[in-house]
Amino acid sequence: MPERSAITFVEARRRLEAKNKAPRDKRMPLAEAAALVRDGDHIAIGGCLYSRTPTLLLREVLRQRRRDVVLSRSLLCYEGELFLAAGACSEIVTSWVGIGLPWGLSRIVREFVEGGNARFEEWSHLAIGMRYHAAAMGVPFLPTLSMLGSDLRRTTGAKTMTCPFTGEQVCLVPALHPHVALIHVHRADPFGNAQIEGYPHMDADIAAAAQTVVLSAEEIVDPDEIRRTADRTVIPFFAVDAVVHAPFGAYPHEMYGLYDVDLDHIDAYAKRVAAEGVAGARAYLDEWVYGPETTDAYFGKFGVDRLERQRRAARDLIGRRT
């Protein structure tokens, strides 16, 4: 693999074969689950940008002062800035980094990458998806027509080959097996059978690709409820190592149908970073990550009314699902 520290194809299979696949109660406290992340791990983050982000899990990983991790995600939001500013991360693997059009370039990513203090390995969005998909499929690579003619092919170390059936040229991207996948879902049972509503993003592939999968879920349901709606299950229990009950677990990011993104909060963060740079992000870490000792304390700072407002906003956006 081009990036440091992801697991090789053969090693990934061997480790998976060695795992305990018994259906067992995998529920555990947030801190215990986050502790499955080790220094130097490659962490794949579920959801996309500010949607279905495993915010509480990431917050706890930061609180445990992990070091030297690699973050990969299809589109990386400001959690990347927080990990860089915290000194927890030295490399990001993504197709795009930022919060969104209105907020412009990430000042912190610029400082770290332009200063030579962090590595930004850029792939096209589909290429990131194909790398997770290859790993989930148990093959060492996948072909794509994307990145042909792009300098990304050269800088990523993707290969080209001639199709032996058609004679056409294709680009090959290598499987990406993260050490850990952090994924937030709508619903999971204690064994880790998980269901997602709305956008599935890349989470199913990330779960099958990673060596260790940590799930947080808005709701823990009885296995019988999963069995009644088995065709909605997108992550089967045998891929999962830990299950954390985490209502509002993506907040201040959005959770499809449950709560809207808290743009006021994100905007305040962005303004602070725009003005103060890394110092602004560190101040945010002190106030919102290291400061509140508990999840309750963290949500207490937002206040119940605000969480309820965001719940109503989501209902207004999605409406009742017959």
């Binding site: 370039l105 332009e114 589909l126 042909l148 003619g149 792009s150 990304l152 709305g198």
Partner: protein
């Protein structure tokens, strides 16, 4: 940028003319901002049968006026969608050939429509680290028609890119074919000053039509490379009252306008 008496802004002009590039009964792969506004405007005017797709995984969305998505992955982008596949699946539909148009912008654009949204300076130690491709490189490689839509600024239109994030016509001629890109091409580069294409002999970008109020000299001056003006260059129609009213209704608080 626009004529002295114009009662619309440059971005309104850009969005309206972009919407006119979209034929009815087609599928457009749109990013948030101008592309999504142009697509929504087209649906509301001449192309009710236009299907909008965004990369977060939404097919057939119908944006709510005044409540536009800011990212391609959020609930606002799923409004009235008919399908919500994975992000990977959306791009695979593009790779398969389901999407007629793909919109692109870019920090740097060269005379062949190649785009840089990654790096200014050296790869290993960039002077400016831009946000990156996102789906741009994929759209450039996989969609049938690539539409580049951006403000016309000299620093943006450069003779040589520091980095090719999204391949356009490569070096003109058979450049895409040579790179292994069997499908798709850049059919339009649209700015607030002109509509450009690659129909000339050189295969380089050239002005096919001028925006209302824009002069050839002004276009050349705002372009960082030698830009040919087609002898038969047309003059684009200004936005109509109706188009402007509808557009402003879509983004009343001017988040993107």
């Amino acid at each position: 940028m626009t004529g002295p008496n114009a009662d619309y802004t440059a971005s309104e002009l850009l969005t309206v003319s972009a919407s006119r590039l979209l034929a009815d009964g087609t599928v457009v792969f749109a990013g948030v901002g101008t592309p999504l506004l142009a697509s929504a405007l087209a649906r509301a005017t001449h192309a009710p049968g236009l299907t909008v797709v965004i990369e977060g995984g939404s097919i057939g969305l119908e944006v709510a006026p005044g409540n536009l998505p800011i990212s391609t992955n959020e609930m606002r982008g799923a409004r009235r969608a008919v399908a919500l596949p994975s992000i990977t699946q959306i791009f695979l539909y593009a790779q398969r050939g389901f999407f007629d148009y793909g919109f692109l912008g870019g920090a740097q654009i060269d005379p062949y429509g190649n785009i840089n949204t990654s790096i200014i300076g050296a790869v290993e130690r960039p002077r400016v680290r831009l946000p990156g491709s996102g789906g741009a490189c994929d759209i450039a490689c996989l969609c049938r028609e690539i539409l580049i839509v951006t403000r016309h600024e000299r620093r943006r239109f450069v003779e040589r890119l520091d980095f090719v994030t999204s391949p356009g016509q490569i070096d003109g001629g058979r450049g895409r074919r040579g790179a292994g890109l069997l499908f798709g091409r850049v059919t339009a580069v649209l700015t607030d000053l002109a509509l450009m294409d690659f129909g000339g002999a050189s295969g380089r970008m050239r002005v096919a039509a001028l925006q209302p109020g824009a002069e050839p000299s002004q276009v050349k001056e705002q372009t960082g490379f030698d830009l040919e003006i087609a002898s038969d260059a047309r003059r684009l129609e200004p936005p109509t009252e109706g188009e402007l009213r509808t557009l402003r209704g879509l983004d009343p608080s001017r988040v993107f306008l």
